[in-house]
Symmetry: C3
Subunit: 116 residues, 3 copies
């Protein structure tokens, strides 16, 4: 299997904290089951962005998953349209120009897509 | 990149107007970011079908996206089971036999899939 | 087309009976439209698991789809964390270690992914 096929993007655009908790559990399961050679990337846009802001009730869980290898992407379009400064993002979050476009780009690179 | 890998299907089966507005914004972002060589196709079925009917509060937005290259597909199974005449669809909407099957067919052709 | 590209995984993690009914209709449409050479597999985890438990209001519909070729997978992580014995699953349901990871594995095998 080539390097390009060893990742998965997980798509979050919903704002409910219970949904966020559930998606974080899913991410933990992916990291547990797929092993360290699989990159796992969470792409957040729209109403989901609260998960990645300072003061998120799930900030410790996000950090714990990042420590296990999770990459966390915030949508630049969402930040702009909601007037959110990048400085308010949790540490380590990456800004991609467009969350939905990034989901397409990763699939073109051979990554799987999961939308919990 | 071959022609077969240059598209994305966006899946909508929810009926809430706020969801429709959000999906239309996502489609605009995809068209902005991925460029004219990427085909963008919205596949609508189930409760989502209202978006594509005459009198939809989003009909102008749909037309604006179509003018920018968006293809809009309505599920023939949904039209049949809800007894909706094709004439009630917005101009330019294409009827596919089955919305869910069309999403599979496009992925087999190498297209990416996004379900906002 | 190689054998590896002839399947589709359908993802269910929501608990509402109306959602379950809708997903079962989608599965019937996939079986009708894609033909017998396409494997169709439903992967259920999280709150969706009720669909696959004894006493599910949709148990007859699930059986009817299984008779037409549908494979039904239950997430082992969900069963463990919810303390559900495998014996409570509907007949023929398969337990996979992780529902979300299984969705990734199938896509790596060339299957399409649909999340209604």
């Amino acid at each position: 299997m080539t390097e390009s096929s060893t990742g998965v993007v997980v798509h979050l655009d919903e704002g409910e904290p219970a949904k966020h908790a559930s998606v974080l559990r899913n991410l933990g399961n992916l990291l547990d089951t797929l092993g360290p050679q699989t990159r796992v990337e969470l792409v957040v846009h729209g109403a989901g962005i609260d998960l990645l802001l300072e003061g998120s009730p799930h900030s410790e869980d996000v950090r714990g998953l990042q420590d296990r290898g999770l990459t966390v992407d915030a949508c630049g379009n969402t930040l702009s349209s909601a007037n959110i400064a990048r400085e308010r993002l949790l540490p380590g979050a990456v800004v991609v120009p467009s969350g939905v476009a990034h989901l397409v780009i990763r699939q073109r690179e051979g990554w799987a897509y999961v939308r919990p």
